[in-house]
Amino acid sequence: MFALRPEVPATVEVFVDGAPVRVPEGASAAAAVLLAGAAAIRETPISGAPRLPYCMMGACFDCLAEIDGVANRQACLVPAAPGMRIARQRGARVAFEA
């Protein structure tokens, strides 16, 4: 659970799992996910457990998300940009389904 300090202007609108959220300039996509109050940014490929960003400095890869249609991006290293679409990444990507 995170909130914006009242004196910080939120000027950039992005979409987290389709829902609009306003974040300040300089915020990362991972910060937007946390501000949106999302329950998870990804679900693990092994057990499907929910995860949110853990390190915010590019080391842990728990922030992997689908950003503007591109999967497996480190959301903590991607600056939020107007209109950006950040979607939860669910489990392993399936190459082929019979």
């Binding site: 909130a3 300040p24 910060a31 949110l52 960003p53 853990y54 390190c55 915010m56 890869f61």
Partner: protein, 445 residues
């Protein structure tokens, strides 16, 4: 075109090195994964450098970032180094065109030491450093009941910053064992008290500022509990409701690239981490590669600034722009600054020495592949003698983080199970690409 010096990382060491090297007439390029200079300690400093909640120390990064911006260098933000050939000086980059450089300076800094406790993968649990980055880059603070747990200078600093920002934590759980204070004070009395007095003074100020926040000392058996996110933090003899749990057990050098390059490393027993072997100027075991800042051993930002200047002076000497005598003469003030900045280290290292692993079997050691401590112990007893064999047994270290988060834990567990030391067990040997890259990036080769 081949440039003189490529610097990886625009934190205090990288920025200082770039400024000095450009001043000495070297052609310099700096790359960093982040969109702005600052590194982790000065993350977002151009945006938030004047924020009173973040404090005067953070504001000092502003002058450094401004001088860096003004220096005549090639700056490549949002760029990742995914391969380095040190023989040829060839850097493969994602986000900018590849580079050729006569000398390479790794200023890749530190990462937080992993804190493998039960429940540390639950949403709502993150590192204190991560939470501080949210505050610096976006003015984001935790809402609800926040618990800070662990040890190290970052915890009182973050508690004070949250308090100034109107979001004080509900509870601080200190894991420093009882009795450690006395040993640390003995280390302080043995030297460093006078030279390190300004740092000590700042530390005492932070403790005074956060005195009103409830705190438990000597906490053991820490774990996070909850169904789909953290709801409670539990320790030996207590528990508390919790919406956000922020963990911290100090920082360790980011060894990924030095290890992948095969640089000579040494085990730092005081800080319980690996560091590349360097001389006073940051030169590594490879003749074309230097390492400066926390990536060469944890010393903090002032020591990193000094190390950046020293590495730049050495680069100029090696590239024939400066005589050895001139390099040594110009190095003197930076060596003195570094000595002052490191004066408190023996005290901090003794006070905040990480406790040896007593990790319950059910704890996740490798977050990516969801491998538990018990699995690692069992495989170690079966015959996996080191982290690299452990990959074949359990896939730990083979997920997207490439072992950055589980490396120290897996090594400590193997050492424990086999009755040997972390120094003897060693670390994962990472390979390029240093970060996952797309097929598209590869196809551009």
């Amino acid at each position: 075109m081949t440039i003189d010096l490529a610097i990886i990382g625009a934190g205090p060491a990288g920025m200082a090195a770039a400024i000095e090297a450009a001043d000495l007439g070297l052609s310099v390029a700096v790359i960093d994964e982040n969109p702005a200079p600052g590194g982790q300690v000065f993350r977002g400093v151009e945006r938030a450098g004047g924020d009173p909640a973040l404090g005067a120390d953070y504001a000092e990064g502003l002058a450094l970032a401004r001088a860096f911006r003004a220096a005549p260098i090639a700056w490549h933000p949002a760029t990742t180094l995914w391969h380095l050939d040190p023989e040829e000086g060839y850097l493969s980059l994602d986000g900018a065109p590849d580079l050729s450089a006569r000398r390479v300076l790794l200023a890749t800094g530190a990462q937080e030491r992993p804190v493998p406790i039960l429940g540390w993968t639950l949403p709502g649990v993150m590192t204190a450093g991560a939470a501080q980055i949210l505050l610096k880059t976006a003015g984001v603070v935790p809402a609800g009941r926040t618990v800070l747990a662990g040890q190290g200078p970052l915890l009182p600093l973050l508690a004070a910053q949250y308090r100034r920002a109107g979001a004080p934590p509900a509870l601080i759980l200190e894991t420093t064992p009882r009795g450690r204070r006395r040993a640390a004070l003995a280390a302080l009395a043995a030297g460093g008290l006078w030279a390190g007095r300004h740092l000590l003074w700042k530390g005492l100020g932070l403790l005074a500022e956060t005195r009103a926040i409830p705190r438990r000392r000597g906490v053991t058996g820490l774990r996070a509990e909850g169904r789909n996110r953290v709801e409670r933090v539990v320790w030996e003899g207590g528990s508390a409701a919790c919406d956000t749990l922020l963990l911290h057990e100090g920082v360790i050098p980011a060894t990924h690239i030095p290890m992948a390059l095969g640089l000579e490393m040494s085990w730092d027993a005081a800080q319980r981490c690996w560091r590349p072997v360097t001389d006073a100027y940051g030169a590594s075991s490879h003749p074309n590669v230097a390492v400066a800042g926390d990536g060469a051993g944890i010393g903090g930002w002032e020591a990193a600034v000094a190390a950046g200047h020293l590495a730049a002076l050495d680069a100029a000497q090696r590239l024939g722009r400066l005589s050895a005598e001139e390099r040594d003469r110009r190095a003197r003030p930076w060596l003195a600054l570094r000595r002052r900045a490191l004066a408190l280290r023996p005290f901090l290292d003794a006070l905040y020495a990480p406790a040896p692993a007593s990790i319950p079997d059910a704890t996740i050691a490798c977050r990516c592949e969801e491998v538990t401590a018990g699995q690692v112990r069992a495989a170690a007893r079966l015959g996996a003698t080191g982290p690299n064999q452990m990959k074949a047994y359990l896939r730990c270290g083979m997920g997207p983080c490439q072992g950055r988060l589980c490396g120290p834990t897996v090594a400590a567990l193997i050492a424990e199970a086999r009755g040997t030391t972390e120094a003897a067990v060693g670390l994962y040997r990472p390979r390029a690409p240093y970060k996952p890259i797309t097929v598209g990036t590869l196809a551009r080769l």
